[in-house]
């Protein structure tokens, strides 16, 4: 057997003392105990760090491995006995490496990239060493080595469901290309400017690339390079290739895989080369290879790997060496043809000189992400994601939603907010201290713009109130939007928006004052149930559902600035904003794809971190117009009235109506009805509402709803067979109520439940 030389034999081999490290000695012990291994000798190998030039001595245990578990004449070419060097090197990265010393050890999948003249190195672990070391023992390491040999020999190391192994090893550098690189790659007037992102002094890893006109001088330290984007014919699954040193080596690699790049290169070069020629320059060329990859046995492209090589020569030189271009003796320009000058042989395209063009540097290619990429990575479907939306209110919650949706590639948004970022806002806002003083709308649009490279995120900031109908840009934004999300944490904005037919489908999201709960109200697609209707139904749920008792508690905190029940200028950590923001963002994104309206709320159990969920069934709204007022209730409440009447028949019954007035909208929202107090008097002809416990009930109603919902009128039922028309007695009652209500400047509401019908009357003192 012929073995590669690797390191120097230790003088005292095989004495364990000649190993430098305790770890190596433990590995040696394990080797000696393993019956499938025989220790040949101990060596030292010097590794040179390419960057620093420092030399590190490494222990190497040379072993012969035979466990006999794979066929002796396997096609892969792993011999039943293989000589390996097991090295231990302290420091960063994987300390334990395994090198195959037999000359002619096959190129297989799952080998590590090695420096020139090093033996092949087995890629044993898929995870990082920091993960591996938690379960690593020398014995398991040796089993892993035997496993690698066995699985590789049997051709089963790479499972069918594993992703294809990449064609090239990862390069030391990567270039981030513009997202529209592929489309623009055929543009002859452009060159790429490469700008390295320096960490310290001259160290860098990432180079950012941007298109500029070819005749434009590079800015600052940027490097101007030519570029060629070449798509090669598909390549099957293979071991990872070493980066080539010349274009000739590159072509050989592709030929071995039944592919070729030179044809594609020729075509691209001719396509891209300007008709009026170029002056040769001392510049390099970035060759971007798109390599379609096939899984073995298939002819379907599974993925396309994009790799880059920085070539030492410019595009004219490459063309000349490929015999594609010809240099004019008159002006030194290099042309595709001889049309512009005489007495020169036309290029024949048959030169082989291109094979010697040196590769200066292999470069990993990353393409700047687009919104499609973001969607794919986030599991967001493309369908329904390209729409214009308006996000009203980009405070703490709104700014979080804006950022989440931007990064998910969902929608293209206009942010409307008239507020300016204050120092204390930064605690719970995506804006930074440097943004203090700017409009939140602009802070957020700038912020999400930075999520992508230039020109991808189209979000716009519009300083102003969402309800400001005088501002044409706001009006336009609202009227062209497909979805409006209200995160203003106000009562008025959603109500006002709901009242207008020009408003798109809308949602309102907010956190409760404690920050423990969040709420989402979402209109149906047809807007038959609007935010204002949903709001009233939400309050009814607060009054009746178990979760409502403390839902809005904390409303009277010490830091009240605004005073609305959804005010978030309270003691709420950014954790809660992020937590509920994420829930709301995701829920709204998925639910807005559906037809129906939603009322949902999430409560945090702070001791466990669990979020519990409650859904309020949405009822169809019922609206009556009386005396210029819209009186709003819904089928759910209607059913409750009917049931209550039924329960007391043949007697009448009744109680107090709960709800609120909106003077601006001239609307009365009936939220709920209290049942007859125990001291009420009811018979088959009439009903007198008592008062026992009523005060407490109204107090509780105010407490639960942050003083939004209160007394708005009275209701009673009529006996069997009776309509809901007011009796003379009822008219008197209404007059009485109207007189009282006028103290508050409000009309009085009376609701009568008759046989299969409900009648509402409004009394106002003129």
């Amino acid at each position: 057997m012929d073995y590669l030389s690797f390191g120097e034999r230790c003088d005292k081999s095989p004495a364990p003392e000649c190993l430098l490290y305790e770890e190596s000695r433990r590995l040696l012990e394990a080797c000696l105990r393993n019956r499938d291994l025989s220790v040949v000798e101990l060596r030292k190998v010097n590794f040179t760090n390419h960057k620093t030039g420092a030399v590190t001595a490494v222990d190497a245990i040379i072993v012969d491995c035979v466990d006999g578990t794979y066929p002796s004449r396997n096609e892969v070419g792993i011999k039943p006995r293989e000589r390996l060097a097991l090295t231990y090197k302290p420091g960063d990265g994987l300390p334990y490496e395994v090198w195959a010393l037999r000359r002619g050890f096959p190129d297989t999948l799952h080998q590590n990239y090695v420096a020139p003249r090093h033996p092949p190195s087995l890629c044993l672990y898929f995870e990082m060493w920091q993960t591996v070391e938690r379960t690593w023992t020398p014995e398991k390491h040796l089993q892993r080595v035997l496993w690698w040999l066995r699985e590789t020999a049997n051709g089963t190391l790479h499972r069918g469901d594993q992703p294809l192994e990449q064609f090239y090893f990862v390069s030391e550098f990567e270039v981030v290309l513009p997202h529209d690189f592929i489309e623009k790659s055929t543009d002859r007037t452009l060159s790429l400017h490469l700008e390295a992102v320096f960490h310290e002094h001259d160290k860098f890893k990432v180079i950012r690339a941007g298109f500029v006109p070819r005749d434009k001088a590079p800015v600052r330290q940027a490097l101007s390079v030519d570029f060629l984007a070449v798509t090669v014919p598909p390549v099957g699954h293979s071991r990872v290739e070493k980066f080539p040193n010349t274009l000739g080596e590159l072509e050989n690699q592709f030929e071995r895989r039944g592919s070729s790049f030179v044809g594609a290169l020729t075509q691209t070069l001719l396509d891209r080369y300007p008709e009026d020629g170029l002056i040769p320059e001392r510049r390099r060329t970035l060759l971007v290879l798109s390599i379609p990859r096939l899984r073995d046995g298939g002819d379907e492209v599974e993925q396309t790997e994009v790799r880059g090589l920085l070539l030492e020569e410019d595009i004219t030189s490459i063309g000349l060496k490929a015999g594609l271009l010809v240099s004019s003796p008159d002006n030194g320009r290099v042309y595709k043809d001889t049309l512009r000058f005489l007495s020169q042989e036309a290029p024949k395209g048959d030169s082989d000189d291109w094979r010697d063009i040196a590769v200066a540097q292999p470069i990993d290619i990353k393409i700047a992400v687009t919104k499609q990429d973001a969607r794919r990575a986030s599991g967001v479907p493309d369908e329904g994601s390209d729409f214009h939306g308006v996000l009203a209110g980009v405070g703490a919650l709104g700014s979080v939603l804006a950022d989440l949706w931007s990064r998910a590639g969902w929608g293209s948004w206009t942010y409307v907010d008239d507020d300016i970022l204050k120092p204390h806002n930064v605690i719970r806002h995506t804006g930074k201290a440097q943004h203090v003083g700017y409009y939140k709308a602009n802070v957020v649009s700038t912020g999400v713009g930075l999520n992508y490279s230039d020109g991808i995120e189209s979000a716009k900031g519009l300083p102003g109130k969402i309800t400001d109908a005088d501002k044409p840009e706001i009006r336009d934004a609202v009227s062209t939007a497909k979805l409006l999300v209200d995160a203003t944490t106000t009562l008025h904005a959603p109500r006002d928006l709901a009242s207008q037919d020009s408003t798109p489908r809308s949602a309102s999201v907010f956190l409760t004052p404690s920050g423990k709960s969040s709420v989402m109200l979402l209109e149906d697609k047809d807007r038959s149930t609007r935010l204002s209707h949903l709001e009233a139904q939400y309050y009814r749920a607060i009054l009746n559902d178990y979760w409502g008792a403390e839902h809005l508690s904390g409303h009277y905190g010490g830091l009240i600035v605004g005073g609305g029940c959804r005010d978030v200028s309270a003691v709420i950590s950014n954790e809660l904003i992020q937590l509920h923001g994420a829930t709301l963002a995701r829920q709204l994104r998925t639910l807005s794809a559906q037809q129906n309206a939603q009322i949902r709320t999430w409560q945090l159990d702070d001791s466990t971190g669990a979020l519990s969920f409650a859904e309020v069934p949405v009822q169809t709204p019922l609206v009556r117009e009386r005396l210029g007022w819209n009186i709003v209730f819904d089928e759910g409440l209607q059913a409750k009235f009917f049931a209550e009447r039924e329960r007391h028949l043949p007697k009448e019954t009744g109680g107090v109506l709960l709800g609120y007035f909106d003077q601006k909208l001239k609307s009365i929202f009936i939220v709920d009805a209290l049942m007859a107090p125990p001291d009420s008097q009811a018979d088959v002809t009439g009903f007198t509402r008592g008062k026992q416990g009523l005060r407490e009930q109204l107090d509780e109603c105010a407490r639960r709803t942050a003083h939004v919902v209160g007394y708005i009128g009275e209701w009673h039922s009529h006996p069997p067979g009776s309509s809901a028309q007011s009796s003379p007695m009822d008219v008197e009652l209404l007059a009485h109520l109207a007189l009282k209500m006028t103290l508050d400047g409000l009309p009085a509401l009376m609701l009568i439940v008759g046989e299969g019908e409900i009648e509402v009357s409004l009394g106002e003192v003129q």
Partner: protein, 377 residues
């Protein structure tokens, strides 16, 4: 896929070839009585073979070959197999032998009386019976003494020719085409049967077993007990007949429990130096080849180096030296695999992609949990 199985029976021999078509050829039989009481470390061969046959749905071996009739190759066999020459050896779950293979010496009274164990005599009776019946037997080589014996028993050579195979010929029971295997007889050959009646080992069966699987062929050198001089004769004769390929091996069942005497007459201090033609045979090993020593574990200690009885560590080192030179895989000892405490049969798989060991790779936990744990106090 064909299989070649070596059973751990101490310093003794039992191996089996199981062909892809299900046919089974057993070489030698050594069963230790103590293993019936659960004593080891040798395997309880009877139980093992019966279980294997049962699993395969068979009640007989296609061939049982006794390479020679030393005790360590036939021990307790007459109570395991069904013998046709006497009623008392029939039935009762005994395992049938479709065809019995023996060297001519077994038919003849060539061994000194003191070596003629009771079992040896019984097998001679059986072989003679089958030969007289003219079926269920193959005799290898036909020395003059065999012809004499046939005539004495009123038979002609002509009438029994189809039951006799000479060295240099193939046993007709199997062909590469039909069975994926052929047995080329190296030994015994006339010279030795006639000249050295007292050395039964030298008259033992030696085959080149050639397997075919897919497009690949593999050579297994199956040697019963033998000595260096016999091997040199074989190499010389085989080369003389231009059949060098029959000397090559992917698998070599090394003779006589790794005795140095199969290499040379001089054990050597650290490593035996093989005689020139034996060395030539060792160099015929192919890349990735295996060596199997059917023996006790081989000790690389002072005691091991000095012990008279095989296995001899000096011999092992010699074999390993040449195995290394030919790029071979591994030297295995039947009583060491997978460990010396509870050895298990070594099973080679022979398939087109090569030879490999059929062994389970188990984690420590899997091993511990595969048996009851020791009693806790």
């Amino acid at each position: 896929m064909h299989q070649v199985i070596f059973y751990p029976v101490g310093n003794g021999d039992t191996s089996q070839i199981i062909l892809e078509n299900g046919k089974r050829i057993l070489f030698d039989f050594r069963h230790k009585k103590k293993t019936e009481e659960g004593e080891g470390p040798e395997i309880n061969l009877k139980d093992r073979l019966k279980a294997e046959l049962k699993a395969a749905g068979k009640t007989s071996f296609d061939v049982v070959a006794f390479t020679h009739c030393d005790k360590d190759h036939i021990e307790n066999s007459v109570e395991f197999f069904e013998l046709e020459h006497a009623e008392k050896y029939k039935g009762n779950g005994r395992i049938k032998i479709d065809t019995l293979w023996v060297p001519a010496a077994v038919i003849l009274e060539t061994a000194p009386n003191c070596d003629q164990s009771e079992e040896y005599v019984i097998w001679r009776q059986e072989a003679r019976h089958r030969l007289k019946q003219g079926k269920g037997i193959r005799v290898f080589s036909k020395p003059k003494m065999l012809k004499d014996w046939l005539e004495k028993n009123g038979l002609t050579v002509e009438s029994r020719k189809h039951l006799i195979t000479d060295a240099g010929d193939l046993a007709p029971e199997f062909t590469l085409e039909a069975d994926g295997v052929e047995f080329f007889c190296h030994s015994p050959f006339i010279k030795h049967v006639d000249d050295h009646d007292e050395f039964r080992n030298e008259a033992s069966l030696i085959f080149n077993v050639r397997f075919r699987s897919g497009g690949s062929e593999f050579d297994y050198l199956a040697v019963g007990d033998s000595s260096w001089s016999i091997l040199e004769d074989i190499v010389r004769t085989t080369k003389f007949h231009g059949k060098d390929d029959r000397l090559a091996w992917d698998l070599y069942n090394i003779p006589h429990h790794c005795s140095y005497l199969a290499l040379s007459d001089d054990k050597g201090e650290q490593e035996t130096i093989p005689k020139p033609l034996v060395e030539e045979l060792l160099r015929k090993g192919k890349e990735g080849a295996y060596l199997v020593s059917s023996s006790w574990p081989i000790l690389d200690t002072k005691e091991g180096r000095e012990q008279t009885q095989p296995p001899h560590i000096q011999a092992q080192k010699c074999y390993e030296t040449y195995l290394d030179q030919v790029g071979g895989a591994r030297f295995l000892v039947t009583m060491e695999e997978p460990n010396a405490n509870k050895p298990e049969p070594i099973i080679f798989k022979v398939e087109s992609s090569g030879i490999s060991l059929d062994k389970k790779v188990l984690s420590a936990a899997a091993i511990i949990t595969s048996t009851p744990a020791p009693r806790a106090g």
